[in-house]
């Protein structure tokens, strides 16, 4: 029980470091047990250092850096404990264009083993999608679904 926890923890920890390094194009990140002596009750701290910067409290990171760090953790969990499908609702809202591209690329790699449904306003994410659905309300208050293509998207959703 404790052994399985520790094993899973180590695997996610390794994947987290790799995912972070990939999304940030450098830097380091780690997971640290708050109470290593007791695997069954310990908490888990996230430690993250973007490239070129000093290691600091996670709260001092920017909004975009925190979102990217959280994604690295999510991706690590998906690699060690895959799920058949994963729904992401506007998780990249805080990212700039360059980071959206990195996020979308990482999704593409993971999509080999996981089906993703991503709700998004960001063009970079749309470009990586295999299929696009548009939700609108031609009749106010009632949702309507249509299949769309990316060139259609440019007209109203370029964020």
């Amino acid at each position: 029980m404790a052994a399985r926890f520790m094993e899973t923890f180590q695997q996610i920890r390794v994947e987290f470091g790799k995912a972070f390094h990939s999304l940030f194009q450098g830097g380091e990140a780690d997971l640290v047990l708050t109470n290593p002596a007791d695997p069954l009750t310990t908490g888990i701290e996230v430690v993250a250092k973007p490239p070129g910067k000093k290691l600091q409290n996670l709260n001092l990171l920017s909004g975009g850096e925190r979102a990217l760090t959280a994604m690295a953790l999510l991706f690590a969990i998906l690699r060690v404990r895959p799920v058949p499908f994963c729904v992401l609702d506007e998780v990249e809202a805080a990212l700039d264009e360059a980071n959206v591209a990195r996020f979308a690329h990482e999704l593409r790699v993971l999509a080999a083993d996981t089906q993703f449904i991503v709700i998004t306003h960001r063009r970079g994410t749309m470009e990586e999608a295999d299929a696009l659905y548009g939700v609108t309300m031609p009749e106010r208050g009632v949702s309507s679904l249509v299949s769309v293509r990316l060139s259609d998207e440019m007209d109203y959703e370029t964020a």
């Binding site: 996670l58 799920v83 058949p84 449904i117 309300m137």
Partner: protein, 165 residues
């Protein structure tokens, strides 16, 4: 295993019968503010057996039934179905295709089916128990919730480590 189709009727802003056909890979859902995108995520969470209405942004279970608009009346019930390709038998059942349906009435009654067999909510939970789509899993990240993965107290972050283990 992958999601082949989501059918929504009367759930939140989806007053009319709506069908989302899906393939493996990445499907993006786009559209203006308030059009109903997150409501699709809610519908998926709901049909997988979500019991806490707060995780659906509601305050009572009735909140997920189409409440009407200025031009349309409210409906009496809502229904969501998902169809999964199970050829890899990731779900511990013999079927190569599995359809889960959940229906709720404004009066408070609920009905559930797995491949057209009536069942209990409990049966839906048990079906997904070992798939990683269980209630603690990181399979649905809601709007504004990604940062929660960092800010939860260390003790709370154990979920995927134990759950999965």
């Amino acid at each position: 295993m992958y999601l082949k189709q989501i059918d929504i009727l009367g759930f939140k802003s989806f007053a009319d019968k709506t069908q989302l056909v899906l393939s493996p890979g990445i499907t993006a859902i786009v559209g203006p503010n308030g059009s109903g995108k997150s409501n699709i995520a809610d519908a998926l969470r709901w049909v997988l057996g979500e019991q806490s209405v707060r995780n659906l942004r509601g305050s009572k279970m009735e909140d997920v039934i189409f409440a009407g608009s200025e031009l349309r009346k409210a409906t009496n019930f809502c229904e969501v179905s998902i169809t999964l390709d199970n050829t890899d038998h990731h779900l511990p059942v013999a079927f190569e295709e599995v359809t889960i349906t959940r229906r709720a009435f404004r009066s408070g009654e609920s009905e559930y089916w797995i491949n057209r067999q009536p069942c209990r909510l409990k049966d839906i939970h048990e079906l997904f128990m070992d798939t990683g789509l269980g209630r603690e899993a990181y399979s649905i990240i809601g709007q504004g919730k990604i940062e929660e993965m960092l800010s939860t107290r260390p003790e709370d972050r154990r979920g995927p480590f134990e759950d999965a283990a």
